[in-house]
Each structure stands twice: as C-alpha cells, then as structure tokens.
Symmetry: none
DNA sequence: CTTATTTTGATCGTTTTTGATCGTAATTCG
DNA sequence: CGAATTACGATCAAAAACGATCAAAATAAG
C-alpha cells in the first residue's frame, strides 16, 4: 500500500514520529494511523510507544551524526589548527598531548597512525584506547573534574621519568608576557611536560590572544612552535616575528573532509 | 520515547545534569523527569544521585564489556556480585578498583557516592570523571589495549606511594592454590595493589572457579574477602569455610525487577 | 444495479502519562 | 548541633493517548 510506504519513509527519516504528526503528514485519521502502525509493528519495521513510533529497521546511523555536537564558530578554528599541528607529527614519534579541546581535535586526527602517545587527558586516552597502532601511556594522578585531565604531584613525578619528542600544550590565554592557564596545579604539570619534551608546541586559537588567566605557564622563549588560526591579528603576527618562536598559521576554509565527527 | 532519548543525549554529553537543568532543557515538569530517570536507572544507563544524574551507559569505548550477550547469565551474576560488594564500601572510603567487567559493574553502583577512588581502568575512570562527589585518582602507565587498564612499572611505582582502605580485584581464574590472571605485568601490578590496600577483596563469579590462567596473582591467605554469586558449588563453599577468607554469597534474583519497556 | 466486503473516520470508555501538591528526608548553613 | 533550604517520593486529579466499537464510505463481486 502506498500510504504505508510513505509512512515508513517519514518514520525512517525522523527516527521518531508522533501520531498527530503522521496524521497531518498523511492526511488520514488517527484511527487509520493506529491500524497501520499495528501492522507495521507486526512486520518488525517500527516499534510503537505511547505517543508515537520508532523506526527499528537498519541505517539509523545517519541520524546519530546529525545529533552530534553543535558546530561552534570557534570549533572550525580548532579543527584547522589541529589539521596543521598533525602535520608536525611523524610516524613513530613519541608525542605528549595535553588536555583541552584543541588538543582533543588533534588527537582525533592522529588516530590510526603508528605513534607513541603520552597524555594526561581522559578524553584523549579514550580515543586511542581501542587503537592498536598506538602505544598509549596515561599520566597518573588526580583528575581535575571539569576537564578530565590528571594533574598534581603524581603526574609531575611520572613526567620526570618520561621523555617525548614533541609536546602539544593548550592554553587559556596568551599575552605579551607568556602563556596562561586557569589552574595552578595544572600549570605546574604543564611545566613538567615542557621539561620532558624535546620540542614544545602550543596550540591556541586566535581568540585566546590578549587574554590572560590565573597562572602563567610558560614564557615566550620556552616555546618552540605556536600553531594559530589565520584570524590572528597582524599586531600579534608582528610581535611573534620578532621572537624565536616559530609561528604556523592554519588556513580556515580548507577543504576539510565532511565527516569530522566519527564516533566509532 | 523521544523525550527519553533526548534526555540521555544531554546526560551523556554533560556527564552530570541536575533536574532543573533537564526540566528547562526538555520543557516538562520535574515529576516527569524523576519518573523518566527512574526507568533510565533501572535500565542501567544512568545513575541518580541527590541533585541530578550521572551517565553510566557505554561511553562508546566500553565495547569490551558489551560484547557478551546482554541476557547472558554471567552478566546477572556480575551485577549481583557488584551489588553485594557495594555494601562493603562506606561513604568517604578510599577504594581501589581494578579493571574487569565485574569491578566495572561495581563502579557503576558506586557512582554518586562520596568516595576517593583509585583505579587503573579507563572505563571505570570515565564513569567517575564527571562526578564531583568523588576524588578520582588514575594510576598512570601503559595501557593494555584489550582491556583498557594501565599496568607496568609506572603503575607499580605509583602504587607504592598510595594507600587505600579497600582494594577490589578481579580475576580470570580461581583454584585451590590461589587466584590467577592472564597477563604477567598485570598480575605484578595487582600484587602492588594488594600491598597498597588494608583489605583486599576479590570479586569473581562462580564460573571462574576451578579454572586457572597463566600467572598466579595471589594466594588464598592474602585475600580478606571474596564475593561470589550463589551458584558457587558446595564443594568450593566447604573449602573456603576452612580458610581465613571471608566469603560473601550474592543472591541472584534480588530486586532487579524486569524493566520491560526500555526502548533504545 | 445490488450486495457483500473492506477500509475509513468518529465516538466513547479505559488506560497511561503528566503536572501539581504535600509531607518527609537529605543537605547546607549558621 | 539545630534551623533553613533544597530535593525527594507518594498521591491525586487532569490531560493525553489508546483500543474497541460501529456506522459511513469506498471497493469488489455477483
């Protein structure tokens, strides 16, 4: 029957539909809808509940991606920065990843590559825990609730016996004096990270510039490389030019692959 | 139901949500929220606390535990054991949780309680990472890919400076000589756990008995308490009676009433 | 063209869900 | 430690949704 087919299309597309919605959409009475759903449920293609219907066929995956993260404006910048930062990593490198949304984006881009990853971030660790191409080392310590990263003396102590080739750190603010984060213990841990690394690379989007925060983490001369999106003002570009720090500008509208959020 | 699904999305994304937040977000009364949460808790996808909800469902990376048949008898056993084991934990205790599916179930039951948790298990850490009633400490070290737990010298070293009141360890096998697990490094780490704990509690379902594995972890006299489901044979019950080890039998058909209408 | 059968839409009593209220329990604050 | 505040669960009435029933409309058969 044609009506049943259209009904299934609607259900499949929306995942869940209420009976009034179906009535309006198909222009038949609710009684008819109910009868149709009854047989649709018998054939296993939909599952009724109080208030509507669920689709229970295959291919529900599309909908899950749609409901993922709302796309922020700042998020594009972070992705662009992560894209450039990932180019700095060579296969079989030993890489330290700090917590933070930008480093998390970087981590997503590194999944699947043969690397040794050291991190204090729980979300980052989760990304790699399923992968068998990476050797994953977690820095122990107390979890900072809001951010899901370990920090504190345990973490610092563990960092003392670790050496990595490249450390990617995130920041809450940058000003002419240096780089800032909001938590004192975390900042101390990040200093230890810097000491454990041959190269320290800061990833920061342009909105962070000119803003400071509670605790200064590093000074300019301690940073090897800085990756920022291209919205960085010329004022800051000029300032950085005069320093030893290497500046990498990430182009914003590069043809990023569309399926950015693979939940796997 | 559509509302339940949206609710779970919010909970999953934020880790912890208060009831007023959910009311504003979903635009229904708090009574409805409470009722929904009740059923959500019955189906094990969330854990209620005073003031809100924690997400305890699969965090997309817990696949190793989801593998088993959901109606597997072994799963009920693990849940029953976890239920009894949770009774051994007092508020404000310092508790060490090993990796493993049974300890993971235990962890789910402990979410929201005021505790200090130390763990080497990534899935367990994820459960608590959003909680602010818990002080969470992660044992650093290399991740054992298949199981998502840290182990090795880093972990052992960190354990040396830690003391907990109760350690809950899981095992792969139990025979008359002692307790076994399958990985040598992991077993060494678990020995360190035992040394760090005032009380060592083993959680093991009855199917583990009579089976050994590669590496012996502990001997009988090192274990204070053993929690097993009631399917344990009388042979083993008698044996344990003659030892110093405290045996707790978990009843299988306890209050877990069938939540028939949970549509995912 | 008439009759039988099926499908549809409306009505109605019943069940389920919802939102508000209130007494109790837990948590916070002084 | 006690008071105030907040959160919780139980209860109940209103609202929504459901299934059953029946008559009208559409379709098929004779």
């Amino acid at each position: 029957m044609a009506r049943r087919a259209r009904m299934l299309d609607v259900i499949r597309q929306q995942g869940f539909v209420s009976i009034p919605e179906l009535r309006d959409s198909l222009e038949v009475s609710e009684s008819t809808i109910r009868r149709d759903l009854e047989s649709l449920e018998d054939s296993g293609e939909a599952r009724r509940t109080h208030g509507g219907v669920f689709y229970t066929g295959s291919v529900t995956t599309v909908r899950q991606f749609q409901r993922g993260n709302p796309n922020d404006g700042a998020w594009d910048k972070k992705r662009a920065i992560a894209f450039e930062a990932a180019k700095l990593v060579s296969d079989h490198d030993t890489v330290l990843l700090d917590g933070g949304s930008t480093t998390y984006e970087l981590a997503k881009q590194l999944v699947g590559r043969p690397l040794q990853i050291v991190t204090n971030s729980l979300p980052v660790a989760n990304l790699f825990s399923a992968s068998d191409s990476v050797d994953l080392v977690i820095l122990g310590g107390a979890i900072h609730n809001r951010t899901g990263v370990t920090h504190g003396p345990f973490t610092d102590q563990m960092l003392e016996t670790i050496n990595v080739q490249k450390a990617f750190l995130s920041v809450a603010g940058v000003n002419e004096k240096g780089f800032y984060n909001s938590n004192l213990l975390l900042v101390e841990t990040e200093r230890c990270m810097m000491r454990s690394a041959d190269r320290t690379i800061i990833v920061a989007d342009s909105t962070k510039f000119g803003r400071s925060s509670l605790a200064r983490m590093l000074e300019w001369n301690q940073v090897d490389t800085l990756v920022v999106d291209e919205d960085l003002s010329t004022l800051w570009r000029d300032r950085i030019d005069e320093l030893d720090t290497n500046l990498i500008l990430a182009p914003l509208n590069n043809s990023q692959d569309t399926h950015s959020n693979s939940i796997s």
